[in-house]
Structures are given as structure tokens and as C-alpha cells.
């Protein structure tokens, strides 16, 4: 019996390109941010438990390690937000042309990095002010 060509899964014969890179980053940033929900709720529940619990939580949330992780969360946030808006545009039928999608992809990526750096500097300054202001 003749051996037929079996259909292959797309990932086995498409070359790696920017579209699937942005797509997998959207998933990764989403999964990473899901972990951040625990941090957000920890912060809120500490505030609801009184000043002593809140100050302990703030000490933990403003540690150098968390501040570095915060950069990652902000990057994931802005990336996911801006790329998500791109996705919603596609769902409405806009921006799917090759040249346009490439342009919005680059614009989104650069904007995400700029917004992340600006926001991180801003929040980092707030934390430093809170620490040196004797709050902690």
C-alpha cells in the first residue's frame, strides 16, 4: 500500500517568525500576571487586616527582590494590554493586513517597554519616598 503524506501540525512546518513570537509572549505574559493576582489580593487583604498587618505586607512587597519582579509584572501588563487591544482590533476585522500588523506589532512592543520603564521609575520613587519617609 502506498504511503500517504500525513498532515502535520502547523508548528512542524511553519518557520519561526515575529507573529508566533508575539503570540506566545501574549500567553506567557498572561500566565505570569495570573500569579500577580495573588500579590494584589495579599496587598488588599493586608490593608483590610489593620495597620500592623499592612506595614508587614508593604515591607515584603517593597523588598528589592519584589521591586525587580515588579518590573517584570509591569512589562507583562503593558505588553498584554497593548497586544490585547491589537487582538480586539483583529476580532473587529481591522489591522490584519501584513504591513499593518507588522507596524502595530513594532509600535506596541516599543510602547510597552517605554511605559514599563516610566511607570517602574515612578512607582520605585514612591516606594523609596515611603521608606525614607519613615513609613517602614
Amino acid at each position: 500500500m502506498a504511503q500517504h503524506e500525513r498532515p502535520l501540525s502547523p508548528f512542524m512546518h511553519y518557520r519561526w517568525q515575529y507573529t508566533n513570537t508575539l503570540s506566545i509572549l501574549h500567553r506567557l505574559s498572561g500566565v505570569f500576571m495570573s500569579l500577580g493576582i495573588a500579590l494584589l489580593v495579599y496587598w488588599l487583604s493586608a490593608a483590610a487586616s489593620g495597620s500592623a498587618a499592612y506595614e508587614q505586607a508593604l515591607r515584603c512587597l517593597t523588598s528589592p527582590l519584589t521591586r525587580i519582579a515588579m518590573f517584570g509584572w509591569l512589562l507583562a501588563f503593558f505588553y498584554h494590554l497593548l497586544n490585547g487591544i491589537r487582538h480586539l482590533g483583529w476580532d473587529l476585522g481591522y489591522g490584519f493586513e501584513r504591513a499593518v500588523a507588522r507596524k502595530t506589532g513594532t509600535l506596541m512592543f516599543v510602547t510597552a517597554i517605554v511605559l514599563t520603564v516610566l511607570t517602574w521609575l515612578c512607582i520605585s520613587a514612591r516606594i523609596t519616598a515611603s521608606v525614607s519617609g519613615g513609613l517602614l
Binding site: R27, G30, V31, M33, S34, A48, G84, L135
Partner: protein, 128 residues
Amino acid sequence: MSLQSPLGKVLGNGAAKEGAGHWWAQRVSAVGLVLLAPWFVMSLIALGDLSYVNIVSWIASPVNTVLLSLLVLTVSYHAQLGLQVVVEDYVAHKGIRMLTMLVINFTLLVLGVLGVFSVLRIALTGNH
């Protein structure tokens, strides 16, 4: 000629038996978050210092109480929908897939309820 039954035609559901419900819910919650998430980040920046008094009085103001509760609920829901797609795509074993989804769903539900409870507790007990 279609082999689909008249009932199947009317319901419009494919092999997953749920139609576009999951897809649509993910888009609706995404639109909500496009509004809520930037509001939250900008508020944090506008807050000044992160002291207890400052944070608690910010949470307790009615508009912030409502928006923050909506944010916690919407973000948990959106994460549940998104993580489900990732798990369904990459976890091949049916039992492990079901167990993973159970853990994710329960964890996000607990976090969502705890988050909203915390916000409401601050807003309603008024010990600030």
C-alpha cells in the same frame, strides 16, 4: 447535504458543545480590563505614598471601592478563561488536565472572593 440534525443547526454548537461562549466571555472581560487596569495603575501612581492611612482612605472612597471590586472580579475571571485555554492546549493527559483546571478554578475563586471581601471590609467597617 448536511448530516447535522435540525436541533444541532438551531443550537449552532460545534464539537465542544459550547459555541462561542468562552471566546466571547474572554473578549468581554478583556474590554472591561482595558478600562479598569490602566485606571488602577494610574491611581497607584497618583496616590503619592503607600502608607496605610493613604491606601485605606483611597480604597474606602465609593467610586474606588466599586471599581476595585470590579477589577478583582474581572481579572480573576479573565485569568480563569485564559489559563483554561493554555492548559487545554498544552496538557494532553485528560486526568491531569482536569485536576489542573480544578486547582486553578478554586484558587482564582478564593482569591476573587477574598479580594472583594477585603475591599468591602475596608469600605464598610469605617475604622480608618
